[in-house]
Symmetry: C2
Subunit: 156 residues, 2 copies
DNA sequence: GCTGGCGTTGACGTCGGCGTCAAGGTCTAC
DNA sequence: GTAGACCTTGACGCCGACGTCAACGCCAGC
């Protein structure tokens, strides 16, 4: 199977596949003419990646699952590292949900005060972690939520 | 008051202030030497902006509030546009929380299955909107959650 | 042999919200 | 006069996950 076929089967683009390969997540044999050649196991790896991305894992976080698959496990998530990755992501999700709920409550309160004309404003600035929320990107592919850590640039 | 003083009073940086001005959110008089000069109302506008950013509004979304303040309202959120912005943001927050909760449930379920060794995997791909969740960026400033819409680039 | 459709690598563009130089001007204190 | 602390504009850097050219190779069918 060549790259275009694999991409279509998995519902993504050739560009994404080449990008995953550049990150070391996908590997490819090459035909005599240099074209990438894939098999069924590559499709499984790719689907694993895409599913996790859909759950909000960023690419690097999918690596333990990919390695687990490559190690021969039929499911990519039964090794210790993927299990821990699940737990970490769950904790992240819980924290973000709590955070967003707190913000929602604060915004709701401010809306009520503003509607009633009661101009009260405690600084009311919630705590540390950040949650970014985004609309669906292109509308052509069935998009799915995404959760990403975004530690900002501060290194010189 | 000059830019450094204003920035420190509001707990931000001069770079941010110049950026806000470049976006048309802050306006500045100039001293004879070309230095920016600010007053108390500029501090109010700036605080409004920073508070909303802390709630997850992106810069452009703070504009109605700024305009409401400039229109003479003591609170920036009693005009129709800011009220609607509050409501929109609330709806966005609710949607994102629901989305993240659904993902959390799915991930939790997959964790349980993987822990028990039961390799079952329905595609289980949740719906459309995206939520991005990020860690605190630098750790030096008291950071706060952020919610942003990120409609991706597709225009040519 | 020529068009069309696939593939290849490389490199720049995109998004927001600033950080971080760089190269200079201004004012104050010593 | 000179060091230092402030200010100015301009421009590039950063982050992830690709999109989007550009310029080329390979192969099939006409």
């Amino acid at each position: 199977m060549r790259i275009g076929e694999l991409a279509e089967l998995a519902g993504t683009t050739t560009r994404a596949l080449r990008y995953y390969e550049s990150r070391g997540l996908l590997v490819s044999r090459r035909d005599a003419n240099g074209h990438r050649a894939y098999g069924e196991d590559d499709l499984r790896v790719l689907r694993q990646i895409l599913m996790l991305r859909a759950f909000g894992f960023d690419l690097e976080e999918t690596r333990p699952f990919v390695e687990c698959l490559r190690a021969g496990n039929p499911a990519g998530d039964t090794c210790p590292a993927p299990l821990q990755a699940y737990r970490d992501k769950l904790a992240e999700l819980e924290a973000c949900i709590a955070q967003l709920s707190a913000v929602r409550d604060t915004v709701r309160e401010r809306l009520l005060r503003a509607e009633s004309g009661t101009a009260a404003r405690p600084p009311a600035v919630p705590p540390e972690p950040r949650c970014e929320l985004a609309a669906h990107p292109t509308g052509d592919t069935p998009q799915v939520p995404r959760i990403t850590r975004t530690v900002q640039h501060r290194a010189g």
